[in-house]
Symmetry: C2
Subunit: 145 residues, 2 copies
DNA sequence: ACTAAGATTGAGATATAATCTCAATGGAGA
DNA sequence: TCTCCATTGAGATTATATCTCAATCTTAGT
């Protein structure tokens, strides 16, 4: 079991819940993937690997993973909700290609700072944000893709 | 008929389409509202006012309004898709209250500039973006609401 | 005014994503 | 072992949005 799964196990057990095979299976699949993945895709992967985890369990486990802080739920807009693991990932936002659907990440600490200021000015207490830029990725503009 | 409806009429007719009573009705309802409104809410309003515009027509007309540039479709995340008219509205982003659901607008031109730079660095050709900050509005933090 | 071509409409079917229900299962502690 | 309660899967349900298609309008041409 990898380090992230172990952390998840600890989280689960610290809440007095059970680290079941189904939960482990879902968690490991999430941690193993290095792409943004949506819940239905994840379910399909698991099914094709012979796991019997049901849709309900997949969604429930994803909620637990998000709760634990090990996984982040990202709203890419256009109905795309994906998950990414947080380990070793500093905060970033997303560039979403409207042609090929690919998602790149980018960091811009100053944007975060400006957001803070905007919130102060508006007397708004921020807890999180979502910034997506839509357009065309390199491959889709150079015609090489 | 107000100026925005007139502009919409012009847009519709410039495309060789018909400015039907249904389309007028939907457009005027959108232009009359000063809040962000979602499609189902709009449909309900129209029904309660005796309009017979169907769901299909409401959605279709909203698409036309967005196409025309007079209305913008905003993805507030969490499955909330709302529409706002653009007339006299400079570009802005949104502060979404997680408690009362209210939506405030804010402007921060520098953020836009930084986004441009981030795109350049990534060889990404932006066409639009969506920035929502989630948290608690003034009323919901001071306990006055 | 008549007609043909094509735009528009509403009702309801369909699609999609996610959540909920509930009976059956199974682990943990007394 | 027994009891309690967490967990599960199958399928029902909800919510939102889009699609289908026959009926109805509009308009242009005659």
């Amino acid at each position: 079991m990898n380090s992230e799964s172990l952390q998840f196990k600890n989280y689960i057990e610290s809440k007095g819940l059970l680290f079941t095979p189904e939960r482990q299976c879902v968690a490991e699949e999430v941690f193993a993937s290095h792409n943004h993945m949506d819940a239905e895709e994840l379910l399909k992967h698991l099914k094709s690997k012979g796991s019997k985890a049901s849709r309900a369990t997949v969604y429930r486990t994803l909620d637990l993973l998000v709760e634990s802080g090990l996984v982040k739920k990202i709203d890419l807009g256009e109905g795309r909700l994906v998950y990414e693991h947080t380990a070793g990932h500093p905060h970033h936002d997303h560039l979403v290609c409207l042609k090929c659907g690919s998602v790149q990440e980018f960091e811009e600490p100053l944007i975060e700072q400006l957001q803070e200021w905007a919130c102060e000015k508006a007397n708004f207490k921020p807890t999180g944000h979502s910034l997506n830029i839509y357009g065309y990725c390199r491959g889709c503009t150079t015609g090489k893709r």
